[in-house]
Symmetry: C2
Subunit: 437 residues, 2 copies
């Protein structure tokens, strides 16, 4: 299949023809990592891929077969832009677990909740509009916001999540600058990447601040059912039906390969989202939606979520134990009570991005903190994902990371910044050794 490369064909002769918005479209740090970190010898604590090993593949194979046999001409046909009605009813049942009373007509099924993020941004953001977002925030959301030329203003979190007073200050400051805030983007539960949860007692206050300021809330909740104690926090949407757009996903509670997520929005907004979705792809895949719908109606999905929780809890514990035992002094990290991620903060002077090639050489990968900020902040932080590797591999990954970190700290202590730079140029990211762990 390989065709010879014509000379020059990799030069971009279209460079003066692209739209202005493409200047915000750059390869994510996660993506640039992907090729190297996916080698089997590297312990990847970088990706956010859910672990599907616990799924009952035989049963799902039967679901797929029956879907084609019994409803093939519907599942393989175009559907409505808003998505399958039965699925939207099931989605309302799921959201009821979080205290949300939503109507199926206010739900739109999307190609993963990433598409819902894209559509909400598309209908609300003019270039230069401000979006408030936690600092750090989800890298995929920041990518969408940049592609619509939004300005992201980060709002600080503590270990109880978004800080209401900081939110008030940020709103006042942006408004004083004459810019327009369109919405607050927040991940209240088991935050990606911060690994913290917005305190329940803060939620009404944050909802009120936004309502009073005329700012919509975009509540992104892919991990809400993955709390390790089985606790389910009340959604912001359960506290305000008119000022919150809620995003959900089956990627973490079932499987991402179907790309089924959703938005629940005030009715008028939902209608606009449907028009935008129709332009984006006509309709989401009927086959995917009906697979998820049949899975929900024929399989014990609540038990499956419990199994996922137990699996991720074991991995979270392995991560925290290894960090406690192996990390050098001065390194701190969050203690997630659900979800996939731990946020690690390094001692002052260390740069997680500059260190990454050495980490990959030592056969461990993570995501540097700068990817989760739109303003260059985050150099002294990084995200560790514990969702995919086994507990043994996690421990080995943390051990390798601790070694890299210790070597880096010793070098800095002994020789300062220049020695570390020299080390950087000596070791290449392209040559990880075999994995003998």
């Amino acid at each position: 299949m390989e065709l010879p490369q014509r000379p020059g064909s990799r030069l971009d002769s279209y460079v003066d023809r692209y739209a202005a918005r493409t200047r915000g479209m750059t390869a994510s740090e996660i993506r640039a990592l992907f090729a190297v970190a996916s080698r089997p010898e590297v312990v990847s604590l970088a990706g956010g891929m859910p672990n599907l090993a616990a799924l009952p593949m035989d049963s799902i194979a039967t679901v797929a077969e029956e879907l084609v046999r019994e409803s093939g001409t519907v599942a393989m046909q175009y559907g409505g832009a808003q998505g399958d009605e039965t699925l939207r009813e099931q989605i309302c049942e799921i959201m009821r677990l979080e205290g949300i009373e939503g109507h199926p007509d206010d739900v739109i099924a999307t190609v993963g909740s990433q598409q819902a993020l894209d559509l909400v941004t598309r209908i609300f953001i003019d270039p230069g509009d401000v979006i408030l977002a936690e600092g750090p925030s989800y890298v995929g959301a920041l990518g969408v916001f940049a592609s619509y030329q939004a300005q992201v203003v980060h709002v600080a979190m503590d270990d109880q999540g978004l800080v209401p007073d900081t939110l008030r200050t940020a709103i006042a400051s942006v408004k004083a600058s004459g810019r327009r805030i369109k919405f607050l983007y927040t991940i209240p539960n088991f935050h990606n990447p911060a690994g913290v949860t917005m305190a329940v007692e803060r939620r009404p206050e944050i909802v009120e601040i936004c309502r009073d300021a005329g700012i919509l809330i975009l509540e992104d909740n892919p991990y809400g059912l993955l709390g390790f104690q089985g606790e389910i926090y009340p959604a912001l949407r359960s506290l305000d039906t008119e000022n919150v757009i809620y995003l959900g996903s089956f990627s973490k509670t079932f499987a991402p390969g179907f790309r089924v997520g959703w938005a629940l929005a005030p009715h008028a907004v939902r209608e606009k989202l449907t028009l935008a979705a129709e332009a984006a792809d006509l309709c989401p895949p009927a086959f995917s939606q009906m697979m998820v719908s049949r899975y929900l109606s024929t399989q014990p999905w609540r038990e499956q979520i419990k199994a996922f929780r137990a699996m991720y809890l074991e991995r979270r514990d392995a991560t925290l134990t290894a960090l406690s035992e192996l990390m050098p002094a001065g390194v701190t990290w969050t203690k997630p009570d659900g979800g996939f991620y731990v946020w690690v903060t390094l001692p002052p002077g260390l740069d997680s991005k500059a260190m990454l090639p050495r980490a990959v050489t030592a056969r461990v990968a993570y995501v540097p903190g700068t990817g989760f900020y739109s303003d260059g902040f985050g150099a002294s932080s990084l995200r560790l994902s514990y969702c995919y590797p086994t507990p043994e591999r996690i421990r080995e990954g943390v051990r390798r990371f601790a070694d890299v970190l210790r070597e880096e700290m010793e070098l800095r202590a002994a020789f300062g910044h220049e020695a570390s730079r020299a080390l950087e140029s000596r070791e290449g990211v392209d040559t990880p050794g075999p994995d003998l762990a």
Copy 2:
């Protein structure tokens, strides 16, 4: 599941917060029709749904079951933003049928070719940029272009497709006005909605005109393998590898419910498309792509396309025969040699959109011509789709349409415009009678 409506909740209190681009997002005329035209008593000659009755559902059920059993943890996982590599290789094989030598690395798999349209527009169009498109053109493309605030300039066709001299004139006129043309959007084969094909001898000329003018070509080819004589025309992309972005789809040659289409683009453009796709939905559904890939590798897909062709040929013949026998004098129509659509032009003074409620009352639906123009043109034309109904139903639909048309023409002849308006207010679109045909 029905919740009581809160008063006022259907009012749009967000109206002053939407992005400027939402002003271009309006419900398509096809969509507004959908609820009524989908009633079983109505013969719908409106939609473009492929007829899936000919697909071997038992075999496809086995494909689905084996996919989950053998590759479930890959098919149900996140994939790359560019799409499945095996599928991209198979896509290159398919394109080779049309004389295209494409490299899998220059292909991106998308959520239907509609998403490819969206992504291409996203990376090239700033508000006010001009897109040239045939007049009439595909309604879904016009919707995308409007949502990115492009200005569409239509270029006339004759029964040999786009007219090169008219293209030259349009380019000169737009350039003289100081506006910037980003690309020519064209459907060379079995045009939707016009039902004509770009003459093979015109193709090199059109490619050259665009290259010389520095205008990309966006070649949309969902129907290219559905020529009734089995003839396959050379793609514009086969004539120019550097200035053409080619869009393909499995929606008409296999099934639309998987939402798998693709773009083949010059390498630098493909890279930008992948970045835009990553923002739009992270990655296309792996499950869908692998279903299509396995279908191609295990099923006789070439024979299946022949079966589709034979089925659509029978329906095309039923349509043309019925039109010849039943249409009043003064009505003309195109004679498609492939694809799904006939474009009908009414005698002067008749308005296909104004007539539509009467047609639906008479239990037949079509799409008025104005939906296929961005400038209000097309009132005296309409699109008939013959892809979905049986030949008998097509004939009955054309008979009903001919009756409506004849009544309208007689009324106009006897009483002029006012009588027709009175008729319009008497008959409601909401009360089609039972289908006794």
